[in-house]
């Protein structure tokens, strides 16, 4: 029954590792997003896909690569993890771009 779901909820890993976070929405929305929330609770958009096409790509290190296999899924792969990547990552979706966004529960990433 969850509208926007993410896995895993918690991810603890060593510097230098590669990891992926998965996101799925069952709302039939066309647009999906990835956000990063830092320790001060500041939320910043990273990427957005509309119907599997990248439409927003903020200034994010190219170690971060989003992938949308279909419009219900948007995954985030991170290479060579750094300490500064520690944050909570939120996936969101909206009916189309420019509409109300529904957020997932977040993935807390801790890089040691």
């Amino acid at each position: 029954d969850t509208a926007v779901s993410q896995t895993p909820k918690y991810l603890v890993t060593q510097m230098g590792n590669d990891k992926s976070i998965k996101c799925e929405q069952n709302l039939g929305h066309d647009t999906m997003y990835w956000y990063k929330q830092d320790s001060k609770k500041f939320l910043k958009i990273m990427f957005s896909y509309n119907n599997k096409e990248l439409i927003i790509n903020e200034t994010v290190p190219n170690r971060f690569s989003p992938k949308s296999p279909d419009k219900a899924h948007l995954n985030l792969h991170i290479n060579s993890l750094e300490l500064g990547d520690s944050a909570v990552y939120f996936c969101a979706s909206s009916r189309t771009s420019g509409n109300e966004q529904f957020f997932g529960p977040g993935t807390r990433l801790t890089v040691l």
Partner: protein
């Protein structure tokens, strides 16, 4: 565990009183504004939105006011309840692709 030193602005409200949360936005061209509520350990949850052709919109116990002249947005919560304790974010939609710029957030603490 939870991060320390968040330094979020905090609004302490007595249960039953009205709350007003303020937000200044940056882009005079933004045409869509949203208020989100984020409870501890959860993703942001939509509360209410307003388009730039309006200056007031009411929901259940919440009212959003938009003053485009001074680029100011406020959220009023009537008869604040303990369940209203959360961090509240304003967000402005900056383009047709759904790029949301979030404010810093305000921690609302409801005391009995």
């Amino acid at each position: 565990g939870e991060s320390v030193g968040l330094h979020l602005p905090t609004l302490s409200v007595q249960e039953g009183d009205n709350s007003i949360i303020n937000c200044a936005y940056s882009n005079s061209a933004s045409d869509y504004f949203i208020w989100y509520k984020q409870e501890s350990g959860k993703g942001p949850q939509f509360i209410i939105d307003i388009r730039s052709n309006m200056d007031k919109r009411q929901g259940q116990r919440v009212t959003v006011l938009l003053n485009k002249t001074v680029k100011h947005l406020s959220l009023q919560i009537a008869a604040t309840q303990p369940g209203d304790s959360a961090v509240y974010f304003c967000a402005e939609n900056q383009d047709s692709w759904g790029k949301l710029q979030f404010g810093a957030g305000t921690q609302v603490v409801v005391t009995p």
